[in-house]
Structure formats: C-alpha cells, structure tokens
Amino acid sequence: MSEPNLAPRIPDALSERRLIELRREAETKGTINTKGVRPGGAPFPMASPETGYYGIPLLKEPAWTWEIPLYFFVGGAAGAAAVVGAIADYTGADRKLVRDARWIAAAGSVLSPALLIADLGRPSRFLKMLRVFKPQSPMSVGAWTLVGFSAGASATAFAQFLGDRYGSSFPVRVMERAGQAASLAFGLPFSNYTGVLIGATAIPAWNANAGDLPMHFGMSGLSAAVGMLELMGNRRSRALEMLGIGAALFECWEGLRIETRRQSGLDPLKYGPSGTLTRAGGVLSGPVPAALRLISLFTGARNSSSLRKTAAASAIAGSLLTRIAWIYAGHVSARDWRIPLGISSQT
C-alpha cells in the first residue's frame, strides 16, 4: 500500500475530468465500478426461484481427503487382481501370473485400510466401522467387505510366501486355498462397491450415474490390475490380453455414455477442469489402451511387448485419474445449487 500523499495537490484538467467522469457514472449507472467501492456481490443480490438463496450451495461438498480417491483406485485394482489370481490358479495358468496377482491383492489389502485410517485420523476410528453391520449403508457393507478381503488376500500371500520359502505343507495349503476362496468371494464386490458408495448419495453428478458407476469402477479396477500384471512381466498371457481389451472397450463405451447423455446434472463430468480430468482419465482408460492392444493383437508385431507395456501404463494412469476425476466432479456438483433446486443450468 502506498503512503497517502499529504502535500496539497494542485487541481489540473486531468483530475477534474476524472471527477466529472465519476459523477456521470454515478448518475447514469447508479453504481461506481471501481476497486474498493463494491462490497462483495454488489449490487445487492436477490433470492429467487431462479437463483435460489443467493446461489449459496445447498449441498455440502464431500469431506474426504486425497486418500479416498487413491483408496478407490487401490481397492479396485486389488479386488480385480484377487479375482484374476484365483481364476488363473483354478484354471491352471502360469504360476508367476498367479503369484504376482496375489502380491498385488495383498499389497492392496494392506494399503486400503491404511488409506482409510489416514482419512479418518486414527486407527480406533476404523474399528468403529465394525461395531455394526448395516446392509442399507454401502459404507458399512464396504468396510466389512474390505475386512474379509484383507484377511483373505493377506492369508493367501502369506501362504504363498511360506510355501515358496519352506516348501508346501498341509496347513499352508489349507491357508492358501481358504484365503484364495475368500479373496475371490470378497474381491468381486470389493472391486466395484465404491461405485455404489458414491452412486447412492445426494450428490447429483454421482447419483445420476448410480446405475453405471459400480460397473464402471469395476472395469476400471480390472484394467488397472491387468496393467499391473503386465508391467510385472506377464506380457505373454493371452488371457490378460483379452481381459485388457475387454476392460478397455468397456471404458470406451462408458466414456461415450457420459459424453452423449444430456442431463444438466452431468455437466461437471463434461465441462470445466473436472470435465477435462474426467475426459483425460477416460481417454487413458478407454481408447488409448484399446487401440494399442488391438494393434498388438492383430499385427502380432515384434514390438507387441512394448505396445502392451504402454497400454498397461496408460490403463493404470487412466484408472487412477478416473477416480480422482469422479470425486472432483462430485465437489463441483455439490457446489451447483441449481440441480437440487430443480433449476436447469445453461451451458
């Protein structure tokens, strides 16, 4: 801020012209449009059925911190990896693939509760989730699914470790079988329940997609799991290739669905920074890996491995970006007072 000039000032043509200009503006417009004279929002806003209560958001924004979208990503990938690992084991696929899938699931089963606890603030708060089981609360169902999944996936990986290190024995085999069955059973809902979690809320951009989000998140998780397995070296597996193509095509369709549906509640997914992020996530999850994988499949090229590696990396990044974008879109959507008031927005 500059010091006020206390020396007497000599009026000149310029200063007088400015004063007349101010007077004219005040006379004609009723207000002066200059820094410092306008209180926030002046001229005083009015409440109306078209503008709501001064455009103050009706809904509260999600209170979740950065751990939650990351948890959505980790949980989705881990759940799908457990399913892939179990089926691969049951159908007698390559042992390395089975082992890698188990490690991904186990890593996710450790990381997931850690992320949730970080969001809640302290470990004892997570235990409160296990006071009751409430089928009508997706958060409660999810917490119990996570516990079942974590137990199963970590037991499987531990048995795997014991078997590799000390040789297989009956108790180890029992733990491996039981853990794997549990991680398969819980992995299926674990890979996509987060879609239910945000779909069944009051946030318009989320609940408008309640019927699609779980499948979308599940396929995104599968895409990430396949990508991780491929980056870990399982690039010869035909099955992974098929799963990767399937998941990427599903994500293409999902992107198309979001882009073509006309509904004002979906604006945060299409416009503004949250729309850009959603699109970026969608392109990296859908068209990019789909194209790379199809090229690799049909050309049978020598560089198939590097194509699949790129597709895998793109799918993983896309899966993570997609979750971040959906949470971000939820924030933007909660700020829009028009949707819950039934006022259609113009874009």
Partner: protein, 263 residues
Amino acid sequence: MAITAFLTDSTLCIGCKACEVACKEWNNVGEDGLEWSGFSYDNTGAVGASTWRHVKFVEQTPEPGFGGNAPELNSWSFSSDVCKHCENAGCLEACPTGAIVRTEFGGVFIQPDICNGCGYCVVSCPFGVVERNPDDGRAFKCTFCYDRQKVGLKPACAKACPTESIKFGEIEQLRGEAEKRVASLVGRGMKDVQFYDASDSSVGGTHAMFIVRGDPRSYNLPPKPQVPTVYMKKAWRSSALGALLLLGGTIAAFLADGNRNGR
C-alpha cells in the same frame, strides 16, 4: 413419548438471530468466523458443523400490496433454518457405525462418542445439513436438543425465539396449527404463503417444518429432496452385474487361453 417437531414460521421471524445464539450457547458450539458475505444480513450462509440454527435473510422481488411495502422496495423475509430431521433420513441410513440414531422424540441424533468421522453422512444429506468439523473430523449437526427434550424442556432455539416464529411441539398438533396458520395468512391476502415439509418426496416428511413466503427455492429448500437410498437398488444391481462380468470374463479369458501350462 411424544413425537415432536419444529414449525418455523418465516412470517413471524424478525431476523434477530436469538435462535442462533441460544443454540450456540446451550450446545457450546464455537463461533465460525465473522465475515461479510454481501448477502443481505446473512453472514453465515448455511447450516453446518458449527451453525446448527441459521437465519436466512431472503430479499425477493417486490410483492406489492403486502405488509405496507412501497411497491419499489424488495420484500424481505427471514427464516430460521435447521436440520430437517427427516422421516427417511439419508444420514441415518448411510452411517456405517450406527452413530446416527432416531431418538424417542423422532429426531435424528449423531452420538458424538461413536461417530468416527467417515464423512458419508455429509454426502448423503439431501439438505446439505451435516458437516464434518475440520478440527476433529467428526460430523455435527442439530441435536434437536435431545438433552433438553429428555428432561421435558423445549429446544434452546424455540425457547429463545421472541416471536414464536420457532414453534416446538407434538408433530401432528403442529401440522394442524400450520394448516390453520397458512389458511389465515392466505385469507388475509398473503397469497404466496407455502407450507414446506417435503412429505411428497422420498424423504417422507420432516420434523422441521416451515411456513415461507414465495417459492421455497428462494430459501434453498429443495422442491424434491431425495433420500439417497432410492438409488441403492440400481447401484447394487450394477455392482452385481459388474461382479458377474468380472468373474465370467476372467473365467472365459483363462479357459480360452491355449497357452495354459501346469495341470
């Protein structure tokens, strides 16, 4: 135990904010910053973790011939907002810990010693009432003065209200009173008076009812609030389909894979 309710009559509200102060004092809720919003005399904005009662100052286009307003002056009404204590409460359904319960008086109450701060109630409230306290992470909202009701007292806001704009009592009785009040106001020429209790939506009615002038949307009262459980069926169906697709797709992919080794 009588099922109780609030009836907040904005035609009687004088915007004194005694309810806000009474609520904060009785419940020991801290102040939440003093900032000029530029929105009439409302510098709080909305109910939240630290504002359980909130007076809205609604400046609307003139309604000539009412209340002695000069035709060019805005009509100005006040309305004290509060948690709606829904019949089908989104927050209560969503709470994974069982911290949010329905009290014997019909209100929705968050037990602070059980709340673990998961924040799911925040996104499940169709009225945007519940909020996480940024300092300790738990969710807070109007308790319907459960402690006072238990010993037979009125909630603090209703007791402090100088004009009986905030009425408290047995719910059916208040509904009857509201009906009579609306009829009487309309009879006196206040044709734009409306009763709001969201009973025609999936929320199934509220324990905080309102009489407002003009469109409830001007008061940020949603015309069709939806309890999020209505989306549950669709979402779980998609989840089941997704799980089937994942399982079926994985089985098919691995069975079709000719390069299987092992067994």
